[in-house]
């Protein structure tokens, strides 16, 4: 008998009496889906929130936010940057990126999280090899909590999906919080409607 069949047979034999599966409520009555709630919770998780540029010039705003950045790579047509994500052959090439730019599909107010997948990133490593990440978020595309978020069809379509909530972080040494563990050092969210 294969290990698979052996394991399944033993599991089947040892399973306790069946227990029912309860329905899960949404727990979202009266919850806010406002960009302000999102902002408060994002900042709590170490993220930054920057108002959109009055003149609509995102490239100029990003250059102003990151004056030392040499390589800016954008996965959204709304920002030009100076390295085209379409030219990336191997994901390792993104290691030289100072600022990655992406548009999140939606946000979660409860936690200040962004939903992203390979459809947004084009190359997933953009969200992790880049030193900094700038994410655009439509202020209308916010759900109240995680129960609502997991209703999204994206989980059935994306190869890879991630909730990103602020920058990568660690507190593994004496509980001292460090932003910029193995991934991005900062995350900046700019609320902008989809054009």
């Amino acid at each position: 008998m294969s290990s698979r069949d052996e394991i399944l047979a033993r599991v089947r034999q040892n399973q306790p009496e069946p227990r029912p599966l309860p329905p899960v409520p949404m727990f979202d009555a009266g919850l806010s889906t406002s960009i302000n709630t999102f902002k408060t919770n994002l900042i709590r998780m170490g993220g930054k929130f920057v108002a959109p540029p009055a003149d609509g010039n995102l490239d100029a705003l990003i250059e102003k936010l990151f004056p030392d950045a040499r390589v800016i790579c954008s996965a959204t047509p709304e920002v030009k940057g100076n390295l085209s994500i379409d030219k990336i052959g191997n994901p390792q090439e993104l290691n030289e990126v100072d600022v990655g730019v992406v548009r999140a599909l939606f946000g979660v107010a409860e936690t200040g999280s962004l939903w992203l997948s390979e459809a947004q990133y084009k190359v997933n490593a953009l969200g992790f090899l880049s030193q900094h990440l700038v994410a655009l978020l439509d202020p209308e595309a916010i759900v109240a909590n995680m129960h609502r978020a997991y209703q999204h069809h994206g989980f059935f379509e994306a190869k890879y999906a991630v909730f990103m909530t602020g920058p990568s972080a660690t507190a593994d040494i004496e509980g001292v919080l460090i932003h910029g563990a193995q991934g991005i050092r900062t995350m900046t969210v700019i609320p902008m409607s989809t054009q």
């Binding site: 997991y150 190869k159 910029g180 991934g183």
Partner: protein, 462 residues
């Protein structure tokens, strides 16, 4: 196999006062942060009940859910393997790596691969394994196992890390600045990510409905391990299954709130289909889980989502450190899981508890941890797995407690002796309970003596 002597091992930890104090405070701080989160969610208790019920449903239908998971993962283009035990798991991983001539593996933290002792197995066969989580990396470089399931190096101070990094990755031994140490590890690890032939993750949850592997991390290392190499492996204990995507809402809301007191981990990552042009493998591991499922009193421990809340709240864990348990899983959850792996080796662990029930009251999936600890004690006593001294003392106690006369004589004698005997007689090596414990002040009179005196005085007796 040698029996782990938890009390003996923890005495070393207790002697290092600055370590002990920091450890105790750091973990208690996490417990307080958890409490703040729990108080901020009105549905907290309902979420605990749901988290428990969904897991119980899954575990009582586990074979079907495993088959559903396998079917969906295969349809996603993922290769699914099954491992009966640790050694088969390690062999499968080695075969996957060798099939693609992979020599370097970057991996995210996984309790399962620790349980399987995979790292030394692969290292002995020429595979370079790099732990990429900061805490786990510190422990790897120090040749020590993880001491906490969420915070592997929580028992170390910054000066310890400075010593380890100076000896291994070339940092300045005199510089124990935490930012410097963390940045040094980041810089040292990045090239490994870039050149790795393969990447590996564990799993917090595996969704049967979609074949998705879910990992909750803060550092970004799991995503890097999966986003760069052409070959990716996920090792998953069979108890990690949940039925549907919607159930993640319950667990993701509970996991980090219980673990770290933060509303969510910085990253919650869902791996379903391999990246274009790459290969993904899943190894489903039993290693004693299917057997535990058949243990009427103990199968509830399979609900565990590895948040570590029971460890953070446990007074014994906080003051003895995870390494003193001598097992992959330490703290209250370890105490009830470890004996299923090896009853004799871990027979002292269920005694590393005050039975205060704090673990049970914080557990997000409502595992009756302290009741299981008590049940393990019964089994261990029945099978004569108690250490000799404790066994002798218990037999004497048994005789004394079953005879009212002997008991009263003993109580009077103890009252006198606690007051008048020198400490060395109370805390001698034959008294297993005396170590690390202080005997409370004996009352001036026993209740029985008081009762006899008062009743007689009032003339109600006789």
């Amino acid at each position: 196999m040698k029996r782990i002597d938890h009390a003996e091992a923890s005495s070393k930890f207790i002697k290092a006062k600055d370590h002990l104090d920091f450890h105790d405070q750091r973990l208690w701080d996490l417990r307080k942060k958890r409490d703040r989160e729990s108080e901020s969610l009105p549905e907290w208790q309902e979420l605990r009940s749901l988290a428990s019920a969904i897991k119980e449903h899954t575990l009582t239908h586990l074979a079907d859910f495993l088959e559903e998971f396998e079917r969906n993962a295969q349809a996603n283009g993922v290769k699914v393997h099954w491992a009966k035990d640790a050694s088969e798991h390690n062999q499968i991983v080695l075969q996957i790596l060798e099939s693609r001539r992979a020599r370097t593996l970057v991996k995210a933290k996984s309790m399962l691969t620790d349980e399987c002792e995979m790292r030394p197995f692969l290292a002995n066969r020429g595979i370079e394994v790099i732990e990429t989580d900061l805490g786990e990396r510190i422990q790897q470089l120090d040749n020590e196992p993880a001491s906490h399931i969420v915070l592997p190096a929580v028992h170390k101070l910054r000066t310890d890390v400075a010593r380890v990094f100076a000896a291994t990755i070339g940092t300045d031994a005199k510089n124990s600045d935490v930012h410097y140490l963390a940045e040094s590890q980041r810089q040292h690890t990045r090239p490994h990510f870039l050149k790795a032939d393969a990447g590996m993750i564990g799993a917090n949850f595996a969704v049967a409905e979609t074949g998705t592997v879910v990992v909750c991390t803060n550092e970004g290392n799991a995503d890097l391990s999966m986003a760069l190499p052409k070959l990716q492996i996920a090792s998953i204990g069979i108890e990690k299954l949940i039925p549907r995507i919607e159930h993640l809402g319950v667990y993701i809301r509970m996991l980090s709130r219980n673990a770290l007191g933060s509303p969510i981990t910085q990253l919650t990552s869902h791996f379903r289909v391999p990246r274009e042009g790459t290969e993904m493998h899943i190894v489903l591991v039993d290693n004693g889980r299917s057997e535990r499922l058949g243990m009427a009193d103990f199968w509830y421990s399979l609900k565990c989502i590895r948040c570590g809340a029971c460890m953070n709240t446990c007074p014994v864990y906080r003051r003895s450190g995870g390494l003193s348990y001598g097992a992959t899983y330490s703290g209250p959850i370890g105490v009830i899981i470890d004996p299923t792996f090896n009853l004799r080796k871990y027979s002292a662990l269920p005694f590393a508890s005050t039975l205060n029930g704090s673990c049970t009251s914080v557990c997000p999936v409502r595992i009756n941890i302290h009741e299981q600890i008590y049940k393990w004690r019964q089994i261990i006593a029945e099978r004569h797995q108690l250490p000799f001294v404790k066994q002798e003392a218990m037999q004497i106690a048994g005789k004394v407690l079953s005879s009212p006369k002997l008991y009263r004589a003993a109580v009077d004698a103890i009252g006198a002796s606690v007051e008048h005997l020198p400490r060395f007689m109370l805390y001698n090596p034959l008294n297993a309970w005396g170590r690390q414990r202080d005997v409370p002040q004996a009352p001036a009179s026993t209740f029985r003596r008081w009762y006899i005196e008062h009743r007689t005085k009032n003339g109600e007796r006789k």
